[in-house]
Symmetry: C2
Subunit: 224 residues, 2 copies
């Protein structure tokens, strides 16, 4: 994956305690931005208040910009096995675009529950079909990479097919993903998203171990 | 679509000049929030500055919350044919989750060009595959609904299949969508997203006229 920017992927020697310390204030910052994103859509205050808020937001951005990392946040691991991908559009702790979704893996199933507000709208009052696709794609990638305890490995989306059975209302949604089968570097995954009344969208797809990871994470030959 | 919240979808008598006036300050507010979302991911300032920024953002949110619309922004039209969906997750003017993408339709092709920064990351340095799915889903919906001038009508995603050929680098991306064929209430759409070197993801799917729109937007029977 030669197009990865240097330094944005890989192992670092940052201790876990330092990651926890950083998350203790990066997390609340991003949460405050998520609430601002929501109210930016729904506010009905007068023009003057909006213009003043705009100027104040620009001043805060200028403060935060005084020292910034070049480029995006990347994906990192430390020697304890802790990993963080703070900028990820689906799960990033520091990314106000992300709800953020938290994926739990148990007994071969990846699950997530997330409350989607006004910022995730498509059809009126409904989750944007593409936001459901974003969350499903991410959860299915986690499913492919981590739900088989004997075969944890990096994977990338190969194909993804979504069947929209009915609109997904904004509010609480639940996702579930599981491995259907595995063939060499390919993992076939299924998943659903839905509300309290059941599944709204069914998904299936193929996740593939990228070339750069194949030597390190090659499936063991059972005959060897 | 009985689950639509009342008042969030439909015609209003708000004049176009008033919509333009509102957009003249709602647009800059959301733009300032987009820059804040980006710097929230990339800032490297000290803890105290972060904590102060968090408190200031909360104060701004409290100001904007003094008067808010209940529920999400919805989709609106006025009697001039102007439409606005300010909260839309892909194209909403007031939604900092949206880049926002602007879709142009010409000669039967829907096109968009959008610059995706740190907030849209998946694999390190790359656009999240689910963000590409979000943009493709939205562009293909516009394609299904509007590129055939004789058959403009509301549509909802039925199925969507994405083939990921290679990762899409963060930066400028281009999308194109076109109708492959139409059958009664179904429109078969194809689309691509890519960078300067060509297509990174191919998409195809079926868009369906929702039941509530079928009477009003029924396809004309050519034999009638």
């Amino acid at each position: 994956m030669s197009s990865f920017s240097p330094g944005v992927f890989g192992f670092t020697d940052t201790p876990t305690a330092e990651i926890d310390r950083l998350e203790s204030f990066y997390g609340p910052l991003a949460e405050s931005v998520r609430r601002l994103v929501d109210v930016t859509i729904r506010t009905d205050v007068d023009e003057e208040t909006i213009r003043r808020a705009t100027a104040e937001i620009e001043a805060i951005t200028a403060q935060l910009e005084k020292q910034v990392a070049e480029g995006p946040a990347g994906v990192h691991f430390n020697t304890d096995g802790r990993s963080w991908q703070w900028g990820n559009a689906a799960v990033g702790l520091r990314n106000a675009v992300a709800p953020p979704m938290e994926v739990r893996v148990e007994d071969g199933v990846a699950r997530a529950e997330v409350v989607l507000g006004a910022a995730y709208e498509g059809p009126p009052g409904m989750v944007h079909g593409g936001i459901s696709a974003l969350l499903l794609d991410h959860l299915m990638g986690v499913t492919a990479s981590t739900t088989n305890p004997e075969r944890r490995r990096p994977t990338m989306t190969g194909t993804l097919t979504l069947r929209y059975r009915r609109p997904t209302p904004l509010g609480r949604v639940r996702l579930e993903g599981w491995i259907e089968r595995e063939e060499d570097v390919k993992t076939f995954v299924r998943a659903t998203i839905g509300d309290e009344e059941g599944t709204t969208i069914e998904a299936e797809g193929v996740w593939i171990v990228p070339r750069w990871a194949r030597e390190r994470f090659a499936p063991r030959d059972p005959a060897a």
